[in-house]
């Protein structure tokens, strides 16, 4: 076995194992439906067979496209808002010891409150519609971005700053040429965590007073008693979440050369 074949062999083994894990999940799912079916005749609609059939139908009839796009739009808008808010705050907190000590207690306190607890207040302030969703998702995503950004600023090599000063760099040049690229890896790690949290919170958020999105679609299938479509939506949510995370990981690998972190 030569040196190059080892990692190749390992990565195909990893993919094989991960496919096997998905297969086990499918078996457990079928078994569960089988057991449930004895006491609940409706359970058949939840079986993998019916689910994938419905998923295929829904996708073929283009019925999920609008909901999926709406949900993805909400993720992106909230993520951008969280970045616009979180990166400057993180840079400020990371570069000032006083600001860091001053805010750390308040941040830890706020971070521990489930964003869903703000839901009634968000509706009260922003009314029904997209605005409370954006608000809730943004405050969900802003903490991992602030914390990772400030950690990134703290680990900047002071010699890079000395180098920039020796080249008479202005404050703006230091920010754009040293600080921003130097913390990019940390910010993207924050983005990945934020996407995961947003995606989890998106579904319950979309169950309040909107008429599109995957969360709304779940409530809709329940009202129509279309249980196999409900399961199809659940599978789609899992798959999209998986893809979003893979995308965030890709971005990190693409933009951050080895050795930057």
């Amino acid at each position: 076995m030569n040196a190059t074949s080892i990692p190749l062999h390992r990565s195909s083994a990893r993919i094989g194992l991960s496919l096997f894990g998905l297969f086990v999940l499918l078996v457990l799912w079928s078994l569960g439906i089988h057991v449930l079916g004895k006491s609940m005749p409706l359970a058949g609609a939840l079986s993998p067979g019916d689910t994938f059939h419905s998923l295929y139908d829904l996708l073929a009839r283009n019925e999920l496209t609008r909901h999926t796009l709406t949900s993805l739009k909400r993720v992106m808008v909230s993520l951008l808002a969280a970045l616009a808010l979180g990166v400057p705050i993180g840079v400020a907190v990371g570069s000032s010891r006083a600001l860091d000590s001053g805010t750390s207690g308040a941040f830890q306190f706020l971070r521990m409150i489930s964003p869903l607890s703000w839901m009634p207040i968000a509706v009260m302030i922003f009314g029904i519609g997209d605005s409370p969703i954006y608000f809730l998702l943004t405050i969900t995503a802003v903490w991992p971005i602030i914390l990772n950004t400030s950690a990134g600023v703290r680990q900047l090599n002071p010699r890079w700053l000395l180098l920039a000063r020796s080249l008479s760099a202005t404050r703006g040049e230091i920010l754009w040429r040293i600080v921003v690229p130097g913390i990019l890896g940390h910010v993207l790690t924050g983005v990945r965590v934020a996407i995961g949290m947003i995606w989890i919170l998106l579904i319950p958020c979309e169950m309040l007073g909107v008429s599109s999105g995957l969360g709304y679609f779940i409530l809709d299938t329940r009202d129509r008693l279309a249980y196999s479509e409900l399961m199809a939506a659940i599978v789609l949510i899992g798959a999209l979440g998986f893809l979003l995370d893979a995308l965030a990981q890709r971005l990190h690998r693409h933009w951050v050369p080895a050795g930057t972190d």
Partner: protein
């Protein structure tokens, strides 16, 4: 001696009566340098030797305009220095490359800052390529710093400096982290570059032999607070490998002076090694 600028300001770099101290909250201030003066002529290479902690790096930061002395001042071409000068290049002990830039981008880093001379795209590209050729790294343009050896990285740092076509190089133990063979190669390279471009240089080093191989003049810092305690002029032609024997007498003198300086202060480990 014919250029009028040379007549007016025979020194490209002139430090006069530099005094420097660091304040400590609650403790007495630590006076590092007192009344240190140095004149650097165009193309002259001066090596600065001295025990650890005497203030060599601090002195270099003052010469680079990164630190304001308590007293005295620095002039470049007769003009007082306020902040870093575009024609003065700085090389540190660690290469300090930016890991998110390729070798080529690292060399070009700093060519387009607002306070640097404006270059058009073509000149800029040529400057970067020429500097890279000078340190013989044309084959590695697209490599990232994590893919470079210590010697290569330090050559990139040197090229980054050269791309700005400095008249004065300030080097703070630039080769001390390298193995002996690589260090020798880098010394040869630096000697060729300073000779070819008539670049003046202040080279801080712990290595007496490095000073003897490269310098036109060796100054010795010592004492507490630090000041000039010895000065030697080395006039042998380059390369100096062949004339090493002639330099032995100077070497012995420097070692003795350093021993005396050390007896006065605390013993520096690096110098002990060099002396042995």
């Amino acid at each position: 001696m014919s250029k009028p600028t040379t007549m007016l300001h025979p020194a490209v770099l002139e430090a006069s009566h530099i005094a420097l101290s660091y304040g400590h909250a609650g403790r007495a201030t630590n006076v590092v340098l007192r009344d240190f003066s140095l004149q650097l002529k165009a193309g002259e290479v001066v090596a600065v030797l001295g025990p650890s902690g005497v203030g060599k790096s601090s002195l270099l930061r003052v010469l680079a305009g990164l630190q304001t002395p308590d007293n005295g001042g620095v002039r470049v071409h007769g003009e007082s220095l306020r902040g870093p000068h575009p024609r003065v290049g700085l090389v540190f002990q660690d290469p300090c490359l930016l890991p998110w830039l390729t070798l080529e981008q690292n060399v070009g880093f700093g060519l387009d800052f607002r306070h640097q001379p404006v270059l058009d795209a073509k000149t800029r590209r040529e400057r970067v390529r020429d500097a890279i050729t000078e340190v013989d790294l044309q084959h590695a343009l697209g490599h990232y710093p994590s893919e470079l050896s210590g010697g290569m990285a330090q050559r990139v740092a040197l090229a980054r400096c050269l791309a700005r076509q400095p008249e004065i190089l300030l080097l703070d133990e630039p080769f001390s982290a390298l193995d002996e063979i690589t260090r020798g190669d880098m010394q040869t390279l630096l000697q060729q570059i300073t000779a070819r471009h008539k670049t003046a240089a202040v080279l801080v080093t712990h290595d007496i032999d490095e000073a003897l191989v490269l310098a036109d003049r060796i100054v010795l810092l010592g004492g507490q607070p630090g000041g000039l305690i010895g000065e030697w002029r080395i006039e042998q032609p380059h390369p100096r490998d062949a004339v090493a024997a002639e330099l032995t007498r100077v070497r012995v003198e420097i070692v003795q002076a350093l021993r005396e300086a050390r007896r006065a202060g605390s013993p520096p480990a690096e110098l002990q090694r060099a002396v042995a």
